[in-house]
């Protein structure tokens, strides 16, 4: 009884007024298409788009392996795709395959992500992207695939309408 009363009083006191809160997550962030051709570098561990005046997948893959410009580096961009690697678009058995000059298993997951997203954004309706080397072929991947990455744990609030 006494504990219940104390609990009620505590609840009342802590529930009074407008108090600071932790971070509450709502609905999904707004999302939309980008009209300019982009390659994807990294800021920290997340992808960051960079616009290139270029047409065609191979050309963009070239920009990707070339790395961020000096100004972009100053802004904090970096790349995990090694600069010596060449990437080429091929069509094998009716499927789009990106062939790397090195064993793709030596590439870091973030580097693979950079390649997959650059291709996905360069081609309308690209679908899953396959990366292959001389002798190995990796399974198809989606760009920024939420299904292959664990969602970050956050307290969930009510989902805000979009």
């Amino acid at each position: 009884m006494k504990r219940a009363v104390v609990g009620c009083v505590l609840l009342l006191v802590t529930a009074c007024g407008v108090r600071p809160s932790g971070v509450i997550a709502g609905g999904a962030a707004p999302e939309g298409p980008i009209l300019a051709p982009v390659v994807f570098f990294l800021v920290g561990d997340s992808l960051a788009p960079a616009v290139r005046r270029s047409e065609g997948v191979d050309s963009l893959l070239g920009w990707l392996t070339a790395g961020p410009t000096m100004r972009e580096r100053q802004e904090g961009l970096r790349s995990e795709v090694p600069s010596g690697v060449t990437l080429r678009e091929e069509v094998r058995d009716g499927r789009r395959v990106i062939t790397a000059s090195v064993d793709p298993r030596t590439l870091s997951p973030l580097a693979l992500e950079q390649i997959v997203c650059t291709v996905a954004f360069a081609v309308d309706g690209a679908g899953p992207v396959i990366i292959a080397g001389e002798s190995v072929t990796l399974p198809p991947r989606w760009c920024g695939d939420q299904r292959s990455r664990p969602a970050e744990e956050l307290p969930t609030g009510r989902v805000a309408p979009r």
Partner: protein, 474 residues
């Protein structure tokens, strides 16, 4: 703790608990709803505004687009910040004031918000990061973070109003509960009080005491039982009184009926006494025996008649202003006791009392002392403002402690071995009743018996000095 207090406390506790829970839950829900609505509105405003940038034409966005976005957002709140890698545009707030945890949560791809206190102002911060996608499920962050700040002053005011109302409703219901408890307690306590008064009256001898029974609850049942009990009690006590009165009347009737034949017998024995001397032997002794027993019987019957007068309440005082010493001396002289008794009778003590009854009392006390005690017998008269006291002492062995409480009982014989004595066994009882007849206000005449420290019994008569002419009524 009284019933009233307990009821009040119980009702108050009930009211406090119920009100606290009800008002608390309602308050909590209302507060959540107010904040939720504000947060949802802010989040919608933010996402709607950010979506005007879409489709994105370049990364980084043009400076003018960012400025326009910030302006549009700050119209809807108290401040806005747009961040893109190194660049920033802000209005109404500084980008440094954004909490680090909110900034890291923004990168989760959700709209996030947080309430913070900026000084005394509660503020809601909503943030999100614009994402770019191919429309095929591919989605990556664009690096453009947008934050909107909105003060919660209006919400705080309405929540404080809610608090005030919750408090007011709580206090009001507490008062209402107290009033209800008071009414309920009165409803319970009134029959209880009536029952208590009736029980007290019954205990004081008013057998007609009853309670008014209302309703059909447990208390009414108690009242009904009480009434039934009191009725039975009254009936039985009345029956006992009637039987006692019958018995007394019977004794009185018998005594009266015996008087007439006894008068005739006394006349005959008077003649026999005169002739007894001439009668020879046994006939003379028989005649004297009949004569003395007839005298004893006559005394017994007279005493019985006297007692029945006391019992029936018809004994009345005949008050007179008298010289007490003179009355006592006359009493002793008429019975021939003057030379057997040491009388200490100061002159000049006058009192208002019944001289005949004083005579009866003194005669009984002195006669008793002469019969059962040893000489010398002393009669001492004293008086003060309020009382006249007569002590009659003898020099015998005194009375047994077991006997003392019963010496004024009727037909009580201290010496059981002596079954017959000259007394009727009613003398001291009659003296006691006579003493009690004298009263003045709440002072009542008393007759007490005790043993003197040096041996011998002492009977003390105390009469109010100026009695009132009221006969005893029963």
């Amino acid at each position: 703790m009284g019933l009233r207090t307990r009821l009040l406390l119980a009702f108050a506790a009930l009211a406090v608990v119920t009100t606290t829970i009800t008002a608390g839950v309602l308050y909590w829900r209302a507060r959540s709803a107010v904040l939720q609505a504000t947060q949802d509105a802010a989040a919608t405003a933010l996402t709607d505004r950010v979506k005007t940038l879409l489709p994105l034409s370049s990364v980084p966005p043009r400076r003018a687009d960012l400025e326009e976005l910030v302006e549009g957002l700050s119209d809807r709140g108290s401040g806005a910040v747009v961040l893109f890698r190194g660049q920033q545009a802000s209005s109404g707030m500084h980008p440094q004031s954004l909490p680090a945890e909110l900034r890291s949560a923004v990168r989760s791809g959700r709209v996030v918000w947080q309430r913070v206190m900026w000084g005394d102002t509660p503020t809601l911060l909503v943030g999100t990061e614009l994402r770019i996608g191919t429309g095929m499920g591919d989605s990556v962050p664009s690096g453009l973070e947008v934050y909107l700040a909105r003060d919660l002053l209006a919400e705080r005011d309405s929540i404080e109003e809610l608090t005030w109302w919750a408090g007011a409703v709580g206090a009001g219901s507490l008062g209402l509960a107290a009033a209800l408890a008071w009414v309920a307690a009165r409803g319970v306590l009134r029959p209880v009080r009536e029952l208590r008064h009736a029980a007290r009256r019954l205990g004081e001898g008013d057998l007609s005491a009853r309670v008014t029974v209302r309703g059909a609850d447990e208390l009414a049942e108690v009242g009904r039982t009480f009434n039934a009990t009191a009725q039975v009690l009254e009936h039985q006590v009345n029956e006992l009184r009637r039987m006692e009165a019958d018995a007394r009347r019977f004794v009185a009737d018998v005594s009266h009926e015996l008087r007439t034949p006894l008068a005739a017998m006394t006349a005959v024995t008077d003649v026999l006494d005169e002739e007894a001397g001439d009668l020879p032997g046994d006939a003379g002794r028989a005649a004297r025996l009949v004569s003395s027993e007839t005298a004893n019987l006559t005394r017994l019957v007279n005493d019985l008649i006297e007692v029945t007068r006391f019992d029936s309440g018809s004994a009345a005082l005949a008050l007179d202003d008298v010289d007490v010493a003179a009355i006592i001396r006359a009493c002793l002289r008429s019975r021939g006791w003057l030379d057997q008794v040491e009388a200490d009778l100061p002159e000049g003590i006058t009192a208002r009392l019944d001289p005949r009854r004083l005579d009866v009392i003194v005669a009984n006390l002195v006669g008793n002392a002469l019969r059962h005690g040893e000489p010398p017998v002393t009669v001492r008269l004293t008086a003060d403002e309020a009382w006249v006291m007569v002590d009659v002492e003898d020099s015998g062995p005194g009375m047994d402690d077991a006997v003392l409480p019963h010496v004024f009982d009727r037909f009580f014989k201290a010496d059981t071995a002596r079954s017959r004595s000259q007394g009727s066994g009613l003398g001291l009882a009659i003296a006691w009743e006579n003493a009690r007849l004298h009263r003045k206000g709440d002072r009542v005449g008393t007759l007490t018996a005790a043993n003197r420290p040096g041996g011998g019994a002492v009977f003390t008569l105390a009469l109010p000095r100026y009695g009132e002419g009221t006969g005893e009524k029963r």
